[in-house]
Structure formats: C-alpha cells, structure tokens
C-alpha cells in the first residue's frame, strides 16, 4: 500500500542549522500520527515540509505516492490547523470555513451549505455569522478545524492544535479529535511537545530531537520500551537508570529505564530491597508520586490511592522485578 506521507532522507537546513536532518518517515493512510519533541527538534519543520511552506534542502517527499518537492502549498490537497488558528479576522465564521471552497471557484450557495455542514460536524452549528474575534479559544479551534476539513484533504496537519486551550477543554478536544479522525478516516498528523497528548491520541508517535527521529512506534512501545535515554527522559515520567546502577541490579553495563509504577515502596527496612530516602510527595489524585533519593540517584515511584504513604524524610525500602528494567541502546 502506498504511504500517505513518505520522507526519504529529507533534510531542511537553515544556513548552518540542520532543522531536519536526513529523516526517513512513512505514515500510513488513515493513521493518527504524532510528531513529538521539544521545541527546536524539527517536528514543526517536518509539518511545514508536508504542507509546502518549506522546501527540503535534499531528499524526497511524496504524498500518496506523488512527489511533492517544488509543489506550492496551494496545489497540495493537504490542509493545516494552525497553532494560533490563523482565522481571517475580516471574514465571518462561515466565510472563513468556506474560504477554501471559494478560492476553488465553488458557487456561493453550495460552498456555504458545505461550510454550515462542517460547522455542525465540529459542533458549532449556527455560529456562521459571528466574527472570529467574538469566539472563545475553544470555538476558534473548532472553526480552524472546520475550515481545514471542509476541503476534504488527503492529509490533515495539526500544529500544536490544543496548546492554547485550558486543561479541561484540552482533554475534551483530545477525545473529540480522535473520534472525528476515526469517523472521517482522514490521515491526521499532529505536532506536539506534550507527551501525554501524543500518547493518548496517536496511533503511532515519532519522537524528534535535534532534527532526527529518535524512535517511531506505538504509544505503548514508546512508553514501555524507549529506545534511548532521550526518549525515556522526554516521553515519560520513566526513571532513567545509569549504567553503574543497572550493572548492580541486572548485571549489564547499560543505560536503562524503569517505570515509576514498577517500583514498590515499603516502609519497613528489608535486606532484600534497596534503602531510599523520601524527598517529596506529590498528591496526584488517583495516585501519589514519591521522589526518592537512592545514594544520590533520584527515582520516582507511584503509589496508588488508598495504600499507606511514607512521610517526607523517612527512610524506606524499594524493590522491583529485574525484568521491569528496560535496557536501552547506545550511550553506555
């Protein structure tokens, strides 16, 4: 099957800055794909390469099998939901949504009907006559989404789509976006620096750093089996274990990761465990996160609600199963 988006050794350099460096990437049709990484990692540049706002310095980009280098944005059947929505301030909501159809020369009655239908799809029916300035952030987000979807793009790009929304709204939109994507079957590619968002929404995640992809995989893969220290550090609340510590407990001189929920904390002293000092307790509702100090190494553990909690400054014993230690490649 032909990929929705395919990168072959794609680079985009700005002078001496390698924003994207020899990236290979294949995104399946109908996939909800996340590009995750810190700012400046090249994820947004990748998105702009797909949209056509940037041209690759070298390498090949194809969209549904068609070569895209040198094709301007307005000849790509790809639409973008911009980070700050980029709604046209001088047009009302309906004309904003119908804009893509208007420039394609579709008649007024037909395009306004389509725009109205799409507004209903993003649950903003009847908002057409308002101006963008009169809408809340969440509503603008939906208008931006409708404005992109009304064109029935082959690929929908979302640039930090939920970044400007407050937490509650963000969680609602995450679910809604996912449902919308499944029902439309359109390939969604979204860029985020929020690992929680990437893991909860995407079918697959690419973790970016320094213009390279560090790992591509399902959220489960990325979370459970981070390929490198960077991924473990960035994606999770995972504990990163230095080689010396790993050698002590699993025999190999390698970096490794250990998930907080895999650590058991006991209040009594136990010769089989590792002694640790409780540095801080963070109440999270469903669980409590405990910061521990093990001979200068900082570890985090999760204790589900209802279980007895140690106190700050207390000496406790921690233990974990050896097989929970996930060894990572490189950087020994």
């Amino acid at each position: 099957m032909v990929s929705a988006v395919s990168f072959q050794k794609v680079s985009r350099h700005f002078g001496s800055v390698k924003a994207v460096d020899a990236v290979d990437l294949d995104i399946e049709p109908g996939e909800f794909f996340a590009m995750l990484g810190p700012s400046g990692s090249g994820k947004t540049t990748c998105l702009r390469l797909i949209a056509g706002f940037e041209q690759p310095t070298s390498g090949a980009i194809s969209i549904f099998g068609e070569r895209a280098e040198g094709v301007p944005p307005y000849r790509r059947n790809v639409n973008t939901v911009f980070q700050d929505y980029a709604l046209f301030p001088h047009l009302n909501v309906l004309d904003n949504v119908a804009y893509g159809l208007m420039v394609k020369g579709i008649g007024r009655a037909e395009r306004l009907k389509a725009a109205e239908d799409t507004l209903a799809l993003v649950r903003l029916p009847g908002y057409g006559s308002r101006m963008p300035g009169q809408l809340s952030g969440g509503q603008r987000q939906r208008v931006a989404l409708a404005r992109a979807l009304v064109n029935r793009p082959k690929v929908l790009l979302l640039d930090e789509p939920l970044g400007a929304l407050d937490l509650k709204l963000r969680e609602n939109m995450q679910e809604e976006l996912k449902l919308l994507q499944k029902s439309l079957g359109v390939t969604f590619i979204f860029v985020t620096h929020d690992q929680g968002e990437a893991l909860s929404m995407a079918d697959r995640v690419a973790v970016f750093n320094d213009g390279h992809i560090m790992q591509i995989g399902t959220p489960h893969d990325i979370y459970q089996r981070p390929a490198s220290r960077f991924v473990a550090d960035f994606v999770g609340s995972s504990n990163v274990l230095p080689p010396e510590f790993v050698k002590l407990h699993s025999g190999q001189m390698r970096w490794a990761s250990l998930r907080p929920e895999a650590i058991r904390v006991k209040r009594e002293q136990d010769a089989n465990g590792i002694p640790a000092d409780v540095v801080a307790l963070n109440y999270l509702g469903a669980s409590t996160r405990i910061a521990l100090d093990v001979n200068g190494l900082r570890l985090h553990a999760m204790i589900p609600a209802g279980q007895p909690l140690p106190e700050q400054g207390e000496r406790v014993t921690i233990s974990f199963n050896r097989e929970q230690i996930h060894l990572m490649d490189g950087e020994a």
Partner: protein, 320 residues
Amino acid sequence: MSTSAAIASTSAVLPRRGGVLNALSDAFWRNPRLLLFLMLAPPVLWLGVVYLGSLFALLLQSFFSIDEFSGLINREFTLKTYGELLLPSNMDIMIRTVVMAASVTIASAIVAFPIAYFAARYARGKWKALFYLGVMLPLWSSYLVKVYAWKLILAKEGILTWALDKLHLTWLLDAWLSLPVVGGNSLSVSFTGTFIVFVYVWLPFMILPIQAALERVPGNLIEASADLGASPAQTFRNVLFPLALPGIIAGSIFTFSLTLGDYIIPQIIGNSQYFIGQAVYSLQGTAGNIPLAAAFTVVPIVVMGIYLWMARRMGAFDAL
C-alpha cells in the same frame, strides 16, 4: 540599623512622603480624571478655538458676498458666492483638482504597496533602517528645493529628455507631450509633470500607513490562505488587500487632501491653468475676493467628507 529600617519598614502602610509634588501625585492617583483633564485641556483648547474656530470663521466668510463695483465685502448671508463657484470656469478648476488628486492617490498607492510590502514582510535589521531612511530622508529637505529640482529634471534641457534621447526614445516623449490635456511643450509645463511631482512628494505619506497596516497582518494568515488553495493573486485579493485597506485609506487621505490643497507644485511645474489652491491664493490676495476664496476651500472639505463616507460604506474600516 537605620538603613535596614528604611528597607524593611515595620508598618503595613508607608508614611506620606512630604512635598508638593508628592501631594499632587496622591491627588492624581485618587482622582485620575483630574490628570486626564489637565493633560487634555491645552490641546483641546488649541484644536477647538484656534483650529476649528478659524475653520468656522472661514465657513462664515463663504456665505458673504463681494460688491462688484466697490470691491467691498457685503456682510449679509447669501448663497451668491456659491452660485459663482458653480460657474463653468470655476467648475473646471474643481474638476481638474479632484481628478489630479484622485490620479495622484491611485498612482501613489500602486507605487507604495510593493515598497511597504517589502518593508513589512521582508526587511529586518539594517534593511529596515535603510527603508525608513529612504522613505523619510526626502522629507528632511525643503519641499521647495525638491520641487525646483524636479523642474530641472523635467525641463526640455533636463536630464530626463537627455536620457530618453540616449535611449532613442525621444519619439515616445514627443508622442506623449502631443496628447491633449496631459501634454505640453515639455514635461515641466504639462499636467504630466505636475502629476509626477505630486506622486513623488506625497509618496512617503502613502508608504508609511500601508507599511503599518501590513505589519499588523500575521504571516500565518498568508500561509493559511495558500494552505486552503489560494494562489498568490487570490491571497492578495482576499486577504492581503482587505487587511491593508485601512492603511491604504489612511494614506489616501493624506495624498488626496494634500493634493487638493497644494498651490505651489502646480504653480512651479505645470501650465498656467489653476488648481483649487492657486485659485484660493490669488482670490484672497490680489483679487481680494475673500468670500469666493472661502467657498473654494469648502470644496476639499466636502470632497474629503464624501470620500470618507464612501470608504466607510465600502467597509474600508471593518478590519480596524
């Protein structure tokens, strides 16, 4: 001990700092409207009395008339002066001036837009400084010097004729100069010359407002338009132009009204046919017909009023 007491005061409310200025600060803080009033009173008085007052005095004068035999002003309200204004010879002056002002405005907008666009979207750092310098520098030298310089440039023996001759394009200039209305003996005594100099002199007043308007258009709106399938021409028509329109209108108010009122440029560069400004100048001077001069000055005010009303109707200020 004394210094630490000054830094860490023991009381929650600090004592009053004495002095008239501090007392005044406290009074202004409690009563902000007082400060606003004191700040606004002088300029409002200036604007109200000196500026609007003289404007009304002028308006009043236009309803007086002049006695043809004695040349004395008859201070009785009459519309006779406005009747005179509508004589064909005076109508010619008004039409000539409005057409010139409109042409200068349109040409300025066309020339200014690309420059303003470059400055707003591309120029950074030293290029931006260079842009401001380039636009403002001509404003630092005297207007008269520039106009006389143009007279030399446009004269029959001037550099423009010479350059066209070297390019073997003299026939083009001659053909243009042989046209009615816009032509003449040389560029410096034709309406074409007047037009060129007007556009040159008022151009900064068009560039700067357009640049300011374009500067406020977020770059991602242009990208969003392209993303939605609009070609660059469609993006210009549907996004860039509507959002720059308030700037273009602001600039056109300058170029249009400055051209409507100018009496020096057409006197130095142009043929002997009058523009409104020249008519006012000669009527209030040698002819001593103050009422007709006043009636003439009402024309640009009315024209600008109609122009702004039309711009508003067309939605030019919706994006403000």
